[in-house]
């Protein structure tokens, strides 16, 4: 973990790089260098980055396997869509409602289920995710199985870029703090963590709520980009999609989650006409990664400021991740 200290120059440099990236892409969109088709994929990439990075906080850093992430995304998508369509509120309020509603759902689901361990937790979260979907299907106010149509298209590049960067910054800053270390200690050894004075339940719930909140954000962006949402968009296959990204990137690596989110989204786009092959590939990724490289592409390592300056081999070897 990098040493925390204020480095203004570095901060300015990073901010400048991000600003350049933002402006370049915005220019390319305006001048149609990035056409409609690529814009859709760009939006999917950003949304998937938010989903993968936030799920990684729960599955990778906290070590609690959740299979219900799509459920929180659904809560966010619906909350935001209701705000902007039925209630005629601006997008900002929609996003706020999405984050709040998803975080609340995360809290309500997290408090009872996080007492469960390992595979029981996985199945319970899968169950809750599906319950959310079935409940949405049965509420007529939000369109039942047909969902909500005609949602205003508010999600644009600034929103996508800003939300992705914000998500990554929030997660990275939490992980590289005492709170993040407490979260990681739960993954490493829950009993030892508790005996070192850490209220493990609190940190599991915290990670779960933050993860859910960000999934809600992704849902809001999704709803206001693709303008139609229905409960079936958020079934457990969607949760598995996000899981594939996290597993491939490496449980416990934000960098890995980002890279894998980009890779998987591009792969999905390329294989759009061959959905069965896409899913077969997903399946093989899960099996092969778990057998041959259970730590994922990145293990629990990150690319960050230090990577570029680090003398390779100077640091004693990282070990296999959990």
């Amino acid at each position: 973990m990098r040493k925390a200290s204020i480095k203004p120059l570095q901060f300015i440099f990073e901010a400048a790089v991000l600003a350049c990236l933002f402006t370049l892409v915005q220019y390319a969109i305006n001048s149609n260098i990035i056409n409609q088709y690529y814009q859709i994929n760009l939006a999917s990439i950003c949304i998937n980055i938010i989903l993968a990075v936030s799920l990684n906080l729960i599955n990778g850093f906290t070590g609690q396997l959740s299979l219900g992430h799509a459920g929180f995304m659904a809560v966010g998508a619906y909350a935001a869509a209701v705000m902007t369509t039925s209630l005629n509120q601006p997008f900002v309020f929609g996003i706020m409602a999405a984050c709040l509603a998803a975080a609340l759902a995360g809290l309500i689901i997290g408090v009872p289920t996080l007492r469960l361990k390992g595979d029981y937790l996985a199945i319970a979260t899968l169950g809750f995710g599906e319950i959310i979907r079935v409940v949405l299907q049965n509420i007529d106010y939000i369109g039942g199985p047909a969902g909500i149509q005609g949602i205003p298209v508010y999600t644009n590049w600034p929103w996508l870029f800003g939300s992705s960067v914000l998500t990554i910054v929030v997660i990275v800053n939490i992980i590289n703090s005492s709170y993040g270390r407490a979260i990681i200690s739960v993954r490493e050894d829950e009993v030892a963590s508790e005996l070192m004075g850490i209220n493990t339940t609190r940190y599991k719930v915290l990670a779960f709520v933050i993860g859910a909140l960000l999934a809600g954000l992704a849902g809001a962006l999704y709803a206001h980009y693709f303008y139609i949402i229905k409960p079936d968009n958020f079934n457990f296959l969607k949760s598995f999609d996000i899981l594939v990204m996290v597993v491939l990137g490496g449980l416990g690596s934000t960098t890995g989650a980002v890279i894998a989110a980009i890779f998987i989204t591009v792969l999905t786009a390329v294989l759009q006409s061959f959905p069965a092959i896409r899913m077969i590939l997903y399946a093989l990724i899960l099996v092969i990664v778990m057998i041959y490289r259970p730590q994922g592409l990145m293990g629990n390592k990150e690319w960050g400021r230090k990577t570029w300056g680090r003398i390779w081999g100077g640091k004693n070897g990282p070990s296999a991740n959990k």
Partner: protein, 255 residues
Amino acid sequence: MVHLQINRLSKAFGGLSAVLDFNFQLDKNELLGLIGPNGAGKTTVFNLITGVYKPDAGEIRFNGQNIAGLPAYRICQQGIARTFQNIRLFKDISVLDNVRIALHQNVPYSLLSAVARTPVFFKGEAKIEAQARKILKIFNLDDKRREIASNLPYGEQRRLEIARALATKPSLLILDEPAAGMNPNETRELMELIQWLRLQFDLSILLIEHDMSLVMGVCERIYVLDYGQVIAEGRPEEIRNNPRVIEAYLGEEVG
């Protein structure tokens, strides 16, 4: 002054009593040993004191307050820290982080200031790191603070566990077979370290040990446990000659 007092503590697993009517007293600053044959219930007693298990009956009074049944993290926050018989470090993270995690209960900044990277956060992190390194220096581990914990040699992992326990700022330190797997040299160094820690940090220490020379050498008083009950209590030389203890250990060596 009584630091830890246990009255009629009992715990059964599936009908089998692991600890039965256990009574015990530890004074402030005392260095006390808990010995007994394999399966006598020593580790169960530790698990009950530190909140890993909930007692079926009985009281555990720490500084006069009953802590029986409190969650483990609360017991730690009251000032009881421990190590484990089979080392339980946070294996895949650095030595420094292992100690910093134990310092978390007094984290000097809020989650929000961590997310926003406010000056309070940077000051707090610097403080945590300084504290952690101070503890690591005591255990001669500061140079290895960037190593992954599981890459340390065995003896250093044992020391890191004690360092981590100490970082929680305990007044009572509980050591579960701290010398297990160490050679006589390392064991002797450890004995000295334990003595020194007690004075330096004003600690009471309770230890389980199989290595009789260690127990007899450092402990002022010893409790002997067999079948979940105290069968003898006293100073090392009294214990050595106690016929009931010899009987309990028959077949096992008494150092």
